[in-house]
């Protein structure tokens, strides 16, 4: 019997089988490395080298507490959280008005708006390597005001600057997409520019602000290269920077490395699970325009 599209659906169609096997493959391939890291984190070194494939003898979670304390995780989390949240705040505060100006104040100065739009977008094409040393020298200059070398606050200004291309692309795109009528009505009512920005445009942009906040936060949380140049003492490390020394720190104790990795992953996994929808949508909309 051949199956045609008009026949009543059989229990297992080729389409269903393809979807199921594809989904299984994706789930296994994408997540297996994390599962393996988790399994590994309970093993001890002797069995690890003798038989890499064996399962751990017992699942001793007290090992985790040990690693947590040794790696001074609270300090790392605090540093990363301060850097990521201040970066996010600063990035939104500078990019919201500038994007508003580019998107909205176009009368007689349309070319000017376009000029800044493309100028800011060019930033995304610049390889990070070009800016590393110059940013290092700027940080040396900012040492007296506490934004210098080996200060977590020194990371924030370059991170904010790094947010400009992406935030401009998304903000300007979204602002051009909303009707101008509300803002014009507010002008007729005598509202000031500041009032329009904070009471009309900002509420309309709330979902976009939320998406950008997530991406700016993740960007700063994950950044490694610049942090590795600017930070020296381990008390000031962010999570990725500390993680890049896990291998040296624990030597060949692979299980300890994996425990440290799992510990730094868990909060981010929770963050991701909560904001998953917005993250996927954010990529989809920016991907369309980029």
């Amino acid at each position: 019997m051949t199956v045609t599209i008009l026949s009543p659906r059989p229990l297992i169609t080729p389409r269903k089988a393809a979807i199921f096997s594809g989904a299984l493959l994706v789930a296994v391939f994408m997540f297996l490395p994390f599962i393996w890291a988790f399994v590994l984190s309970f093993k001890d070194n002797t069995t690890l080298y003798a038989n890499p494939l064996s399962l751990p003898k017992d699942w001793d979670f007290s090992l985790y507490a040990d690693t947590f304390n040794k790696a001074s995780m609270p300090t790392l989390f605090r540093n990363s959280f301060i850097v990521a949240s201040l970066t996010t705040l600063g990035a939104l505060i500078i990019n919201f008005p500038s994007s508003f100006a580019i998107a909205r104040l176009h009368h007689r100065h349309g070319a000017m708006g376009d000029f800044f739009y493309y100028l800011f977008l060019i930033g995304s094409a610049v390889p990070l390597f070009i800016t590393l040393f110059p940013i290092y020298t700027i940080a040396q200059g900012l040492q007296p005001i506490g934004l210098g070398i080996d200060s977590i606050f020194g990371l924030i200004p370059p991170y904010i600057a790094g947010s400009i291309p992406f935030n401009t692309l998304v903000f300007v795109g979204a602002m051009r997409g909303i009707p101008i009528d509300l803002e014009e009505a507010a002008i007729l009512d005598g509202a000031s520019l500041l009032r329009i920005l904070t009471h009309i445009t900002l509420p309309l942009m709330a979902p976009v602000v939320a998406t950008l906040a997530i991406f700016n936060f993740l960007g700063a949380w994950n950044e490694w290269t610049l942090a590795s140049i600017l930070l020296n003492s381990s008390d000031n490390y962010t999570i990725p920077l500390a993680a890049s020394f896990f291998k040296e720190q624990y030597g060949m104790d692979a299980a300890a490395v994996m425990r440290a990795v799992i510990i730094v992953l868990i909060p981010q996994m929770i963050f991701y699970a909560i904001f998953q929808k917005r993250i996927v949508q954010g990529i989809a909309t920016t991907g369309l325009k980029g």
Binding site: A18, I19, A23, A27, R104, M112, P127, S244, A284
Partner: protein, 291 residues
């Protein structure tokens, strides 16, 4: 909005962002251009040496190896990502029970730090205690010459596989966005005409996603050329600078050898190469579409 459209208000609103951009993007570009023509140790003043850095590049064997490794990374990623991301995009465009979970899992590596995801892979690809070699040994395959990291030949392939795994979700969402823009009527009409699911994908989805595919190829290329963190965590370029990518080699020249001038000239060279190749690719493919 013309009331507020004075040049002054506009500049006032842009000024903070412009300030950050000038200091942290434009000034560094200008400074880097100067550094590229200098002999500049990191902590000492530099002096101009003309084109000497670029002459040195021509005879730098380590740079040659790094270029070759990067070419392998780019090639493998271009082989893997567009095809797999397209299939993944097709999969997550369907709604089925558990589709949200699949989306969640597929996208997880992308939002995590590259340092941490590479660490997760270290003990899969490690020649002594890794999962891959362990499994191969278990079925009695001789793995003496199958050294996924630290060896001289397979490291860039391993790097490319890890980076593909990490970014697959991102590119799949780009394809997903493209798929959503294809009118449903096209598929319906084809189904009525008796096209099978595979035919519908082959003759509707694939051609309609040509533009998305071009963007994906350029993005994969640009990211693969600059790959740094994966190599740095896996090998730091060991043994003897054999496994460096361009990115990790530049980083090593800057951080380990402390030769800022030379690092800048390599960066400049790579940047120009990246731009020329991407633009050439886009122009070429555009012409082909028009014909």
């Amino acid at each position: 909005m013309f009331m507020f459209s004075t040049r002054r208000t506009k500049l006032l609103l842009i000024l903070p962002a412009l300030g950050f951009f000038l200091v942290y993007t434009l000034y560094p570009i200008a400074y880097s251009l100067i550094l590229a023509f200098q002999n500049k140790p990191t902590f000492r003043p530099g002096h101009f040496i003309g084109l000497a850095n670029f002459v040195e590049m021509a005879s730098d064997e380590r740079l040659g190896i790094a270029l070759r490794n990067t070419a392998v990374i780019v090639a493998v990623e271009l082989l893997l990502i567009p095809a797999l991301a397209f299939l993944l995009g097709l999969l997550i465009s369907e709604s089925f029970r558990g589709s949200n979970l699949v989306k969640l899992l597929a996208f997880t590596p992308y939002i995590l730090s590259g340092i941490v995801t590479t660490l997760v892979w270290v003990f899969i690809v490690d020649p002594n205690i890794g999962l891959v070699n362990g499994l191969l040994n278990a079925v009695h395959v001789d793995t003496t010459n199958f050294i996924l990291i630290g060896g001289t030949s397979l490291t860039p392939v391993t790097v490319a596989v890890i980076e593909s795994w990490k970014s697959l979700g991102f590119y799949a969402v780009l394809f997903l966005a493209g798929l959503r823009m294809i009118p449903v009527e096209l598929y319906d009409a084809a189904a009525v005409d008796g096209a099978t699911a595979i035919q519908r994908v082959r003759f509707i989805s694939v051609p309609m996603l040509k533009e998305t595919n071009k963007i994906v190829i350029v993005l994969v290329f640009l990211n693969a050329v600059q790959s740094l963190q994966t190599v740095w965590i896996l090998t730091k370029g060991q043994p003897n600078f054999q496994s460096h990518s361009i990115g990790s080699y530049i980083y090593s020249v800057f951080v380990e050898q402390r030769r800022v001038g030379y690092a800048s000239s390599i960066t400049l060279f790579i940047f120009v190469l990246m731009m020329v190749l991407s633009i050439a690719f886009l122009i070429r493919t555009n012409r082909r579409v028009e014909e």
